[in-house]
């Protein structure tokens, strides 16, 4: 119809050429390289590191909080942050233990309640953030961070609560076909979140909101709903972490999972999730979890002091994020 105006009708391509350069310039390759380097270093440092049993059991140590990385990645893509997840872990595990030990709720049901409490905590975060838009997620979750842990203290006071049934140990310690259950479920959850973020309309909407929340709203994205769901997912995953953690500890206490949020944020950041919004892939966060986890595990095997470990992990985080930023042209221009 525009041709009659004398316009040349353009042909706009709808296929992208596959560019090998672009493919290999992805952040995730950088992470893979780091992971390989970490593995090589560790294998050279400790004779105990590089064997199947060690690598397998090593994952059981660090995977518990790693579940929260996925929803946290989504939250960071939305330009928000959730610092209440550690407290959510504490509260949901404390409620579960209390249900089972004090109220005689069957463990199966207590587990469901644990997940539900986690999700509820996340839902409350989401609702508060959406209802009080003037407040940022930081202040809301800072408040609930203190509040949720406070409730956990009120429930259990100075007690720990354990005595879970034998089978409950399976979550944190069990194997299926010789593979840790925590690892199997982690892979499944990673795939689910990967598909959710990258292959569904929901994920697309999250990325759109991360890039431009106003335009997303004008385009009919139910921004409030998306936000609430994502924060609820974070709570749910915190509930899952609570299961694994209480299973590994055989008990729980109000002060567990302290400062988990910072570890989780560090993993997501290393994984290439940008708090500036709109960027990042689930696969990156998965690799980052293994980088940090195995680095700590490997250095632990040669008994590096905790303070040195702090410095090494900090330096790794900076190097990994900084190296790709130091582009040559920029560097020259600055000189």
């Amino acid at each position: 119809m525009l041709d009659k105006q004398g316009y040349i009708q353009r042909n706009i391509l709808d296929k992208k050429e596959f560019s090998l350069k672009e493919f290999f310039l992805q952040w995730e390759w950088m992470l893979v390289i780091i992971l390989v380097v970490v593995t090589i270093i560790n294998a050279n440092l400790s004779p105990y590191y590089l064997n199947y049993a060690s690598l397998r059991d090593g994952t059981m140590i660090f995977l518990d909080k790693a579940y929260i990385v996925f929803p946290m990645a989504m939250i960071m893509i939305l330009r928000d942050i959730d610092i209440s997840v550690g407290s959510t872990v504490a509260l949901s595990s404390v409620v579960m233990a209390t249900m089972y030990n004090s109220l005689g709720v069957p463990m199966e049901l207590a587990i469901v309640i644990c997940l539900a409490v986690g999700a509820l905590c996340g839902l409350i975060n989401g609702l508060l953030i959406v209802k009080f838009k003037e407040l940022s997620a930081v202040i809301v979750t800072l408040g609930t961070m203190i509040l949720y842990r406070g409730i956990a203290y009120v429930i259990l006071e100075d007690q720990s609560s354990g005595n879970f049934p034998e089978w409950f140990g399976f979550f944190g310690w069990g194997y299926i076909f010789g593979i840790p259950f925590i690892l199997i479920l982690f892979v499944i959850v990673a795939i689910v979140f990967g598909l959710l973020l990258h292959k569904t309309t929901f994920g697309r909407q999250i990325i759109a909101m991360g890039n431009n929340p106003t335009a997303s709203r004008f385009s009919g994205v139910k921004v409030d709903k998306v936000k609430i769901i994502v924060f609820t997912l974070a709570g749910l995953m915190a509930g899952l972490t609570a299961l694994f953690l209480s299973s590994r500890m055989g008990s729980t206490r109000p002060n567990v999972a302290n400062m988990y949020e910072l570890d989780v944020i560090a993993m997501a950041a290393l994984g290439g999730i940008s708090t500036a919004g709109g960027k990042g892939k689930i696969i990156g966060t998965v690799i980052a979890v293994f980088i940090i986890g195995y680095l700590q595990y490997g250095l632990g095997l040669i008994n590096i002091p905790a303070q040195t470990l702090l410095i090494i992990v900090g330096a790794l985080l900076i190097l990994a994020v900084a190296v790709p930023k130091i582009k040559l042209p920029n560097f020259i221009k600055r000189k």
Partner: protein, 330 residues
């Protein structure tokens, strides 16, 4: 009884000692950067090295059970012979320590105990009953057996402290203390700023307060500072458990006439000897076992609730006469 690790699928245990041949003795303290823990580890180290073992000293950067679980897993992979641990949580280490024991590692707790299921025995720095009672005796002497007192503890969940406070309360039931009133147990969470606020609040809420007992180093030092700054030396007495170095100025100035602690170097050394005895098979950790613990002399395994323990002596009293020689030690 729960969360038993499945030993079948864990690292196969082909002879506990490989590299170098020396058995490895690991000590896990609550957190890093704590001089009390450092001294204990020093004691452990010199004792074990004297006995011909290799020493691994570890602590997480934060005082959490989660951090200790990670470390213990790493120690299991390294096939250590024994683990001595000052637990950050009584119960939370049970599954992982059971896993360690199931692989032949000798596990003992030191200073702050883990529950009886999680260890072979406990090395107790001093009798908790004595720790509790002796502080009440001290405070009574300081205030002339009459007046309001308060306790400034660490966190509300510190099991050590709570046990001592229980014994303090039991001691207070004795008729000779009927004029002493325990008005409040406050918690400074082992944070300087919070301990200061709590102390200030105690002084304001109870203007007639005569003494403060703080069975924790950060708490007692913070209270000492507040009493010093407010010029209350001689008016409100302070005692409790603290590091001599932290308390030296307040004991010298009389803010705290005296206080108690044990020697962490000895505690560490005792743990080293006990671990060695366990690894060598000299003792099994059962009631009545005895062994020679170097300079600490002969030790006997005694009962401790459901478990067993080695009990070191009474807490040591630090006052103006002896503080100067100890303040540079720990």
């Amino acid at each position: 009884s729960q969360g038993a690790p499945q030993s079948g699928s864990s690292t196969n245990n082909e002879g506990g000692e490989d590299s170098g041949g020396k058995p490895k003795y690991a000590f896990v303290f609550k957190n890093t950067g704590n001089p009390y823990g450092e001294k204990m580890m020093d004691g452990f180290k010199s004792a074990v090295e004297e006995l011909g073992g290799e020493v691994i000293l570890r602590s997480p950067d934060q005082p959490t059970a989660e951090g200790q679980i990670q470390i213990i897993e790493q120690l299991i992979t390294q096939k250590v012979a024994a683990i001595a641990i000052a637990g950050n949580d009584q119960d939370a280490l049970e599954p992982v320590l059971k896993k360690a024991m199931s692989q032949g590692i000798k596990v003992l707790s030191v200073d702050s105990a883990v529950n009886a299921n999680s260890r072979i025995l406990h090395v107790n720095q001093a009798n908790p009953e004595r720790i509790g009672r002796v502080q009440i005796e001290a405070v009574s002497e300081m205030i002339g057996g009459e007046g309001q007192i308060a306790v400034l503890s660490a966190t509300s969940q510190a099991t050590n402290q709570n046990l001592w406070i229980e014994w303090m309360k039991k001691e207070l039931e004795k008729p000779e203390y009927e004029k002493i009133e325990l008005v409040k147990v406050a918690y400074g969470d082992d944070l300087r700023d919070k301990s200061v606020s709590e102390t200030e609040a105690l002084l304001k809420s109870y203007p007639d307060l005569k003494a403060i007992i703080a069975p924790t180093t950060v708490g007692i030092a913070a209270a000492g500072k507040v009493l010093t700054d407010k010029g209350l030396a001689g008016k409100v007495a302070l005692t409790g458990l603290g590091l001599p170095s932290e308390m030296a100025s307040y004991i010298e100035s009389g803010v705290s006439p005296w206080m108690y602690l044990w020697n962490p170097i000895d505690v560490g050394a005792a743990a080293g000897h006990t671990a060695h005895a366990l690894v060598e098979g000299t003792i099994k950790g059962e009631l009545g076992d005895t062994f020679e613990a170097g300079d600490l002399g002969s030790q006997e395994v005694v009962a401790d609730g459901e478990g067993t323990q080695i009990m070191l002596g009474d807490p040591f009293k630090f006052d103006a006469d002896n503080i100067a020689e100890w303040k540079d030690v720990y």
